[in-house]
């Protein structure tokens, strides 16, 4: 059973949602998911770009009231 951990990066600028995602991916098991909450609209494009580049999996990306919920799965 895969687990999902949430990173609440709303209103945080440094290190920022993508860097937090990269750091937290090291701490979870292959198959587990990370959900990033971000108020930075750039996350909706830069997280998928990086995920695609390194070969993890994008699960979903949605926006609710100015907050992006981006879910990725660790694949390796």
């Amino acid at each position: 059973m895969s687990e999902r951990k949430t990173i609440d990066a709303r209103g945080t600028y440094c290190p920022g949602p993508l860097m937090e995602l990269i750091a937290n991916l090291k701490l979870i098991d292959v198959g587990d998911e990370l959900e990033v909450l971000s108020t930075d609209k750039g996350s909706a494009s830069d997280i998928p770009e990086w995920i695609d580049k390194v070969g993890h999996e994008m699960v979903s990306s949605t926006e609710e009231g100015g907050v992006w919920h981006i879910v990725v799965r660790k694949t390796k």
């Binding site: 609440d8 440094c14 290190p15 920022g16 860097m19 990269i22 750039g42 990086w50 580049k53 390194v54």
Partner: protein
């Protein structure tokens, strides 16, 4: 109320002194007790290591006796904690003693973990410990020119270090007269030169003027010391003759051993700074898992918020404020210019152009730090 502070770094020290000032009467009357447990009798001003690695500060300038920084109301022991028994409200130390508490603050910090990237520890220099900074000084002093690779792991302490170490080294080689024989290759884990967008834009212009080459979306996978090349998770490479790293960091081993948080970082509420699921345990500084800068100023502002709330709990029976996410970072832009970035959960940073005045203020702060640690600034 017995308040136990585990960790004698910047966060723990500011917290203890701030509390001691607020609770002088309560300590005297026996209504409050403040105890600090630290792993070291020395306190180091860690940002000074940036200057040690280019010979501008000596290591002994960075240390003070921890006991000399603390208010007399604080009971201080050099006796590192080995076991946390949160259900019993107690900790056990290396000496075998058990300390019980009503409120616990964990401020054990983070550590560079170069060993987590194959080949990084053996083949790069960094400015995160005294030993490493002195080794970096030896290597940059002997450097005759060639490719300087800057590689950055995540998470890392002090978000400005990747830029600062590049600027400071660039000026060092310029003064040494080998700038024309030296080629900088700066890499960064995300798609711009720094996590703060305005800082990244400013750095782009500065790097262009200095002829510094850049590669973004570069996360170290391994370092090939024989081939002198760094491979990234994104299947890119960077060649080097001198490799300067900002190693990925982990929390302290005791946090991982006690299963308080993955990677040694403890799950923390972003406003109350309480450990998730615990009402009487607070986490400050690098020890939190909060997605904010691992910086001395973060620890400082968090320590003030927790100190105010713990004092208010004793005096009023309830907390009075929340941590607002405030961070302040100086940015050294070379040998004689600097700027700063300040932001919180609701206000993005808007750094100004670097100037000499901010640089000299940073130089002054390198000494004022000791007043800050004492809770005076």
């Amino acid at each position: 109320m017995r308040i136990l502070i585990v960790g004698g770094g910047m966060g723990g020290t500011i917290l203890a002194n701030n509390l001691a000032r607020r609770l002088k009467n309560e300590v005297r009357q026996g209504k409050a007790q403040i105890t600090m447990l630290s792993a070291s009798e020395q306190h180091m001003y860690q940002p000074g290591l940036l200057y040690v690695c280019v010979g501008r500060m000596m290591p002994d300038e960075l240390y003070r006796e921890q006991a000399s920084l603390l208010e007399p109301e604080i009971e201080f022991h050099v006796d590192p904690v080995e076991e946390f028994h949160l259900d019993q409200n107690s900790v056990k130390t290396k000496s075998g003693k058990t300390y019980s508490y009503d409120s616990l603050v964990i401020a054990t910090g983070s550590r560079p973990a170069a060993e987590t990237v194959p080949g990084l520890a053996e083949n790069s220099v960094n400015c995160y410990t005294e030993e490493n900074a002195l080794e970096m000084l030896r290597q940059v002093r002997d450097f005759k020119g060639g490719k300087v690779g800057i590689v950055v792991g995540v998470p890392h302490k002090c978000p400005m270090i990747p830029l600062e170490v590049t600027f400071v080294l660039h000026d060092y080689f310029k003064e040494k007269g080998i700038a024309d024989k030296t080629e900088f290759h700066y890499t960064y884990p995300i798609g711009r030169l720094h996590s703060l967008e305005p800082v990244a834009k400013w750095a782009q212009g500065e790097f262009a003027k200095m002829g510094i080459k850049t590669k973004t979306l570069f996360n170290m996978k391994e370092v090939d010391g024989k081939g002198k090349v760094v491979h990234s998770e994104e299947s890119e490479t960077v060649d080097y003759d001198l490799l300067v790293s900002v190693p990925p960091h982990k929390g302290m081993e005791v946090i991982e051993k006690n299963k308080l948080g993955a990677g040694g970082f403890i799950p923390t509420d972003r406003l109350s700074l309480k450990m998730e699921g615990r009402d009487n345990v607070y986490i400050i500084g690098d020890t939190t898992n909060l997605p904010i800068s691992k910086a001395g100023s973060t620890a400082h502002f968090e320590a003030e918020a927790v100190a105010e709330n713990l004092a208010a709990l004793i005096k009023l029976g309830e907390p009075v404020r929340e941590y607002d996410g405030k961070v302040f970072c100086f940015i050294e832009a070379g040998r004689d210019r600097a700027t700063y970035a300040m932001f919180d959960y609701n206000h993005p940073p808007a750094p100004k152009a670097p100037n000499k005045a901010v640089h000299w203020f940073k130089m002054a702060y390198n000494q004022l730090y000791w007043a800050s640690a004492r809770g005076l600034l």
